[in-house]
Symmetry: C2
Subunit: 216 residues, 2 copies
DNA sequence: ATGATATCGATATAAAAATATCGATATATA
DNA sequence: TATATATCGATATTTTTATATCGATATCAT
């Protein structure tokens, strides 16, 4: 594995795509795969793929490509999926519930160990075996349990306040589903999951596409 | 409004952010705002903001900036939020359910008019007044009702097959929540909402941050 | 063995995005 | 009315990202 650090955000997206593809290869598929093939399958430029793979693995060989199993391990290691991180989630509404019950995040290196909400009618209940606790206890619990990751799924108006609580509790990375720009100290990471923006792109591109191709 | 088309994908993200911010300004806020101020509030470079705004509005005046109400309208118009688009959703599992019951997408220009699933125990039921229908009927219904947008929230293995059905039904834009690269004809838009990738970025950055700042 | 070929990895070029700089202009103030 | 200033919009520069090109190498076929 090379020690360089070109850090491209899109690269993580692509690596994640490679990983999904590799893990879902049919059982009888050959045990090796070339960057070129991968690129064709995923509709990407082959040089991009080769460059990405060079960052996470050095198992590539001419005429052979990469051994799938090794490559999977290398990508997973690079993405930090081989050590589970504990996280808490704040906001047990529809989206929060969905994320908790999704359950599949453990495959991606994340374990949601507790949820918080301010609604007394939710506090005390459970979603998919995850307890919903009073949001007032969030900071304290994060501190005690050394939680470094917080997921925010509250309405926008409360997001900053929740964020502050988490930061106070020692959280160092925030996955923010609220459509708000969070203000955090420099050492804290914020990853925004802005579905509204994503939707905007979709709608705009649809417009353009219909203008170009017509409605058929 | 300028007629140029620099089309930057990040720009849509930012425009969406501006819009959220502007719409949530306190009631007693001044009725005008400068690109510079906006940039400071949203932790962005001021030139980027000015460039983005120039694409959607020409209401900017020196010493004044933009009239908030007009700017909101201009951005909404640019993002296509002033005409609702109908959409269908396939996959009424946890995530699908959450998206349907979220309900707020109508504010963003999207209306989910029907959901589909293959699970007979779900078909016929309702989620937030949205009927769940047999997935076999999807293509037909899209055709008849002239639906152009499909949302895919099925497990990865079924995503391509669902996608093909939607395309057959005349769908022209797909919002894909499955971690799979979909193959579609050129005229069809795909917008991937890859939460796993987003999560990967978060975890990686957290690693880096802890390496840089320590655990405190 | 020997040569042909697929594939990698590195370097070089091109394209795109972000950022900086600077003159123009509308408003406020003296 | 004249001057100072905030802010815009355009142009220029830098940085980043994507793409193309090319030599090196390991395997396969002859």
């Amino acid at each position: 594995m090379s020690e360089k650090k070109p850090i491209s955000l899109n690269m993580y997206n692509r690596l994640s795509t490679y990983l999904n593809f590799l893990k879902n290869l049919p059982p009888h598929a050959p045990c090796n795969i070339s960057a070129t093939t991968l690129a064709q399958e995923l509709l990407l430029n082959d040089v991009v793929v080769r460059k990405d793979l060079a960052c996470v693995s050095d198992g590539g060989k001419p005429k052979i490509g990469y051994i799938v199993a090794d490559l999977v391990k290398d990508i997973e290691h690079f993405l930090g999926r081989d050590n589970l991180s504990d996280a808490v989630l704040v906001g047990a509404g529809n989206l929060g519930k969905a994320l908790i019950s999704y359950g599949n995040f453990e495959n991606y290196g994340l374990k949601i160990i507790a949820a918080f909400d301010s609604d007394p009618s939710l506090v005390g209940r459970e979603i998919a075996k995850t307890k919903i606790l009073d949001v007032a206890k969030a900071a304290n619990l994060c501190n005690r349990m050394n939680i470094k990751i917080g997921i925010i799924t509250v309405p926008g108006v409360f997001a900053q306040e929740v964020c502050d609580m988490l930061v106070e509790g020692g959280v160092r990375a925030i996955w923010n589903f609220a459509p708000v720009t969070l203000k955090v100290p420099g050492r804290v990471i914020v990853q925004n999951e802005d579905m509204a923006a994503s939707l905007a792109i979709l709608l705009k591109q649809l417009d353009d596409s219909i203008a170009a191709y017509g409605l058929d």
